[in-house]
Homo-oligomer: 107 residues x 2
Amino acid sequence: MSSADDSDKIFKALADHRRRAILDALKDEPKTTGALCDMFPQIDRTTVLQHMRVLEAAGLIVARREGRERWNHLNALPIKEIHDRWIGDYARNAVSLMARLKADLEP
Amino acid sequence: MSSADDSDKIFKALADHRRRAILDALKDEPKTTGALCDMFPQIDRTTVLQHMRVLEAAGLIVARREGRERWNHLNALPIKEIHDRWIGDYARNAVSLMARLKADLEP
DNA sequence: TTGACATGTTATATTTTTATAACATAATGT
DNA sequence: ACATTATGTTATAAAAATATAACATGTCAA
């Protein structure tokens, strides 16, 4: 199904704070491309589109054209994927790992 | 405490698959810098060191010198942090978000 | 102290990301 | 058809990340 390469794409897509902000903006409801661009007036429209392409390539955005608009939807499954296969394990064990760390570092 | 800037550092540090591999290598037990470098013979030692510096700056590696060796320990708390404040929420709601997505995309 | 080992730094080349401008297409209302 | 709106593409500049070589420091053991 999904290879390590896919995971890497997802991690890389999430690495940019503007891209995470775009996902946040799609969390409550889908938005048109124009509406999304309007939410980031400090960034050039072309730049937003480029970020969206990265998100789409990682499967985090699914879009459908309707008339002359394009509705962009969040797909959170890729996030769940890296959570399930990598991050969740670290997050779950963080406290006990921290205990070991402290024990190791103490004299 | 920990700002959005810190979160960004953590996401960026995790974006590279070699750095994630380094963390994986430290998961079971701490390792010396040399032992870590030996685990990645395909990468230059200097490159591994540079990656380690990125991980250390993000708080994911905590190190202590002992004699002429340096023991590198994993600190998973930063991962838990981005999990708690961002990823976990998406991962938890992924399935219901997916349901909405399907409903939206169906005619 | 001398040599070997373990680690670290600096400088620089290479590659990838990110940002932007200029141009292009496609749908809608009049 | 024509003007307008919404979106998308291509080319290129600018910045950041990554890789590597050359050099430097600190520790230990004989």
